[in-house]
């Protein structure tokens, strides 16, 4: 069964674009790969087809309107690097970048990403090379359990992109929405400052 998710596979995109919207919905309402059975017909969940870029790759996806962006990324695009710590906008583990700005993907509906660009932790390394910020996190032992790390990275990357040389206080403020129960906060701040001092720009 084909997944209702279209990346850069041209033939399928041409197929979908060459058919009526109604047909596209009918075709893409098939079960999502990896899930067992069809979503019950009685649920009649509203669905919308969205286009978005995920880590630089154009995607066209039919989503249930109730899906969060986190759910789309984790369960349907296989990008499980984005973590869910609370699903209510309190902890920041699910932080991704939406058009370059950090957002809580647990509190962002997938449909809101229509026409926009999403970057996740999987999109930081380029050509097998870690982003300098990732390398700095490794060197400073910033992740302990690692569960909040993706979110810390995405917030910090957005900060450095907007402000390449932040003060420690600016780093703490920018990252205040990313909790770490291992409480390795000072290591995270050190790692961000070190990456900034080393140039910190993207590889």
């Amino acid at each position: 069964m084909k997944e209702p998710i279209d990346d850069i596979e041209i033939s399928r995109r041409q197929f979908i674009e060459g058919t009526s919207a109604a047909l596209a919905v009918a075709v893409t309402a098939s079960p999502v790969a990896g899930q067992t059975a069809a979503v019950p017909a009685s649920a009649a969940v509203p669905r919308t087809t969205i286009r978005l870029a995920v880590n630089g790759k154009a995607r066209r996806v039919e989503v249930e309107d109730r899906w969060t962006l986190a759910e789309l990324l984790r369960d349907h695009l296989g990008l499980t690097g984005t973590k869910l710590g609370c699903e209510r906008g309190e902890c920041g583990a699910c932080t991704v970048q939406l058009d370059g700005k950090p957002v809580y993907s647990c509190s962002t509906l997938a449909v809101w990403a229509d026409g926009r660009s999403v970057r996740t932790v999987e999109g930081l390394a380029r050509g097998g090379r870690l982003d300098p910020l990732q390398q700095s996190f490794v060197d400073h032992d910033a992740p302990q359990c690692g569960f909040c790390t993706s979110g810390q990275l995405m917030t910090a990357r957005a900060l450095l992109d907007a402000n390449p040389h932040p003060t420690a206080d600016e780093v703490r403020s920018a990252m205040a929405g990313n909790l770490c129960r291992c409480s390795n906060y000072n290591r995270y701040v050190e790692a961000v400052l070190a990456a900034a001092a080393a140039g910190g720009s993207r590889a």
Partner: protein, 720 residues
């Protein structure tokens, strides 16, 4: 001063984790990231009432919802959860599970706290599962409830168990835990000064970042469980026992987990419920819990009320300590409810009576030094106060009265507590920061300094390791650790590299899978490095011996070395880690705000295996201590029994903005035990923190805050 230890090749050098890249690229697989073909999603329905009898559960509407594949309730699931709610807080004991009269089931009736599981549904996706929960009708008969652990022991309190609210011990007897030495009554009669006071501490949730989850799959009669557990071997044993299947029919896998702090040892009800649903549905089941469920449905640090009577000689020597205390265990007894602290003092007359009481609140259990931070807060606030009343410097009082031998006059394997205190006082500049007159700073912003100290068990014990060497020269170290965040995989690899005399890059570490790894003690009790680390050393020695005898293995050959040492400490000696925390705070008495302006944490954790991860552990412990001292509390509505602060936001765990610099200093020692002299580390980093912070607040303000947390509201109430 202790001599610096002779350097080793790999051990003792700051080393990035061997799995660090997986952690920064999103490749590390946590339980919720596991996805199996045909997998269903499960959700748990929990009691909305603090205490109620279930008359009837009607699941017919939920069962009729398309996409629902299995429903579990107490009607069809009679599984007893052995790792929780058993008498005496003896979590691991199979015997106690068989004999206790107070059994905790996966689904209980009556329900005893808001959050007690009532039913669970497995469905084709999580939205259907959630919808199905709404369709389950439960007819509750509401029962009177009690929230406060002292109220629970009053004669007219609602009974949570037929035997009453004083928790039963392993012999099914309702009696407090009593420790006695000397005669407190007699000593108090002769004391120059007698002081009495009451201290209390709150329920503090572990609040690890990863909410509990489980993926359970049956292949015939073999069960595979992916779960965030700190002890895969314990979890496997518990699952087999609770489900009544042979241990070899259970496989437990935990590759990465999002924090532990004592909250994820052994098996959990979520594991049993997922396994039960998976068997019922004939398909793999992923059970996920929400953050709120994790806060109210799991467990945290037991709240306490502590009454002290202390007798002191004219020269400031402690004569007698009496502690009468009550611990709140929630609806089930998952751990002892004990309190550490009185043993810290060289005092011949000690009497400690601790009553673990059932309440209709979330269950209390293990959280980072289960009986330490709350006990230390009480006794070390009390003693700090005694020092001021005697016009003594608290550091001098501690140095005068600290126990230099273990209870029963047993000696320690080594004793560095005094050095830790002196080193900390110097590094902190105690004499400069401490105010001889508490609260003497002019103006509304007042500074002050406080300190507290600790001992933490570092006993040796049984664990296993296997190391293989293949014909290509690849060493593989198999250890049953899961790496809860402390860096155990890297530590084990470093120990193997050291003992084998090869670089760490030559060692592959295999972990977190009971089908591939030998027994490990589990990452609780801060003992992985001591016990499993020592097993790695023994396995490496065996491998070296084999290489010496047989030579390096040829192309298709493999050498396999294994060890299950069960070392003991010589004679009656006691092995402890030691340490002291020194804290300076700034209290704005008009705003009620506390800022930590200096924090020095000193510890003898034996020899450090990896200083990089060790320092992070100690700093993290100190920041968790700040959260416990100033913010965190699971508050209940007294009228309805509803938890009001179940979540990160209202519980207020520390954020980036609340984290001061933590100066971590180690007094390294090697007493000849553990792996290269390593001692316990992870839990001890938090233990004395809340006491030290509270003592600093006293020094700053001149007001003794006797109840944790010391919130802004409490400060304003006392001082504004």
């Amino acid at each position: 001063m202790a001599e610096p230890l002779p350097p080793l090749k790999t051990v003792g050098h700051a080393t990035p984790r061997i799995d660090a890249v997986d952690r920064v690229t999103g490749k590390a697989t946590y339980t919720r990231d596991v996805r199996l073909p045909g997998m269903l999603y499960a959700r748990v329905l929990r009691s909305p009432h603090p205490h109620a009898r279930i008359r009837r559960i009607d699941t017919s509407k939920a069962a009729a919802l398309p996409g629902v594949k299995a429903i579990a309730t107490g009607d069809n699931c009679k599984v007893v959860w052995g790792a929780g709610g058993i008498a005496g807080g003896r979590q691991y004991s199979d015997e106690v599970k068989a004999t206790t009269t107070q059994r905790r089931y996966a689904f209980n009736n009556p329900v005893r706290f808001v959050g007690d599981p009532v039913a669970a549904v497995a469905a084709v996706d999580r939205h259907v599962a959630e919808e199905a929960l709404q369709l389950i009708a439960v007819d509750y008969e509401l029962l009177p409830f009690v929230l406060d652990h002292e109220d629970a022991l009053k004669p007219d309190a609602p009974k949570i168990w037929p035997e009453g609210n004083l928790a039963l011990d392993v012999e099914n007897k309702a009696q407090p835990m009593v420790q006695r030495r000397g005669s407190v009554d007699q000593a108090l009669k002769q004391s120059a000064h007698v002081f009495e006071d009451r201290y209390s501490t709150q329920f503090v949730h572990n609040a690890q970042m990863e909410p509990r989850a489980c993926v359970a799959a049956w292949d015939g009669d073999k069960l595979t469980v992916y779960t965030p557990t700190g002890g895969i071997a314990n979890c496997r044993h518990d699952m087999a026992r609770d489900l009544g299947i042979p241990e070899e029919k259970v496989r437990v896998i935990c590759q990465y987990m999002g924090g532990n702090f004592g909250n994820k040892n052994q098996n959990q009800d979520a594991d049993l419920i997922a396994a039960f649903l998976a068997r019922l549905a004939g398909a793999p089941v992923k059970l996920e819990t929400s953050r709120k469920e994790d806060f109210i449905g799991m467990h945290g640090r037991w709240p306490t009320t502590q009454y002290y009577t202390v007798g002191v000689k004219g020269d400031g020597t402690i004569d007698a300590i009496r502690l009468r205390a009550v611990s709140g265990m929630g609806g089930y007894r998952k751990n002892s409810g004990g309190m550490a602290g009185v043993e810290l003092y060289a005092c011949g007359n000690i009497e400690s009576t601790i009553s673990p009481a059932y309440t209709n609140r979330t269950v209390s259990g293990n959280y980072r030094g289960p009986e330490f931070p709350q006990g230390y807060f009480g006794v070390q606030s009390m003693m700090d106060d005694v020092a001021y009343r005697l016009k003594m410097d608290p550091v001098d009082f501690v140095l005068k009265n600290m126990a230099r031998t273990a209870p029963g006059n047993a000696s320690f394997t080594n004793f560095t507590l005094e050095e830790c205190v002196r080193r900390g006082a110097d590094a902190f500049e105690w004499k400069r920061r401490w105010r001889p007159q508490p609260g003497s700073d002019p103006g509304p912003i007042k500074r002050g300094a406080g300190m507290a100290f600790m001992e933490f068990r570092s006993g040796v014990g049984r664990s296993s390791a296997v190391i293989t060497l293949d014909g290509k020269g690849q060493y593989t170290c198999f250890v049953g650790v899961t790496d809860v965040g402390a860096g155990a995989k890297t530590t084990m690899g470093m120990i193997a590299a050291e003992e084998l005399g090869v670089p760490l890059s030559k060692i592959e570490v295999v972990w977190g899978d009971t089908d591939r790894c030998p027994y490990s003690v589990g990452e609780s009790g801060s003992r992985t490095t001591i016990m499993t680390g020592y097993a790695v050393i023994e396995a490496a020695r065996d491998l070296k011996k084999q290489i010496a005898e047989k030579g390096m293995p040829a192309r298709e050959q493999k050498l396999i070395a294994s060890a299950t040492p069960n070392p003991t400490v010589e004679g009656r000696k006691v092995r402890n880690a030691f340490g002291a925390h020194f804290v300076e705070v700034e209290v704005d008495v008009e705003l009620g705000r506390v800022r930590v302006t200096k924090y020095v944490s000193v510890a003898d954790c034996g020899r450090l295996i990896n200083p990089l991860t060790a320092k992070g552990q100690m700093a993290g412990g100190a920041i968790q201590a700040i959260g416990m001292a100033l913010h965190e509390d699971l508050i209940y509505d007294q009228r309805t029994g509803q938890p009001l602060t179940a979540g990160f936001y209202y519980d207020r765990i520390p954020t980036h903005r609340d984290a001061p610099d933590i100066d971590v200093l180690f007094v390294e020692s090697d007493d000849g035990y553990g792996a290269y002299g390593s001692k316990s580390l992870g839990e001890s980093g938090k233990a004395p923190g809340p006491a030290a912070i509270a003592n600093a607040i006293f020094n700053a303000t001149g007001h003794r805050f006797k109840d944790l947390p010391i919130t802004r509201a409490r400060i304003l109430e006392a001082l504004a």
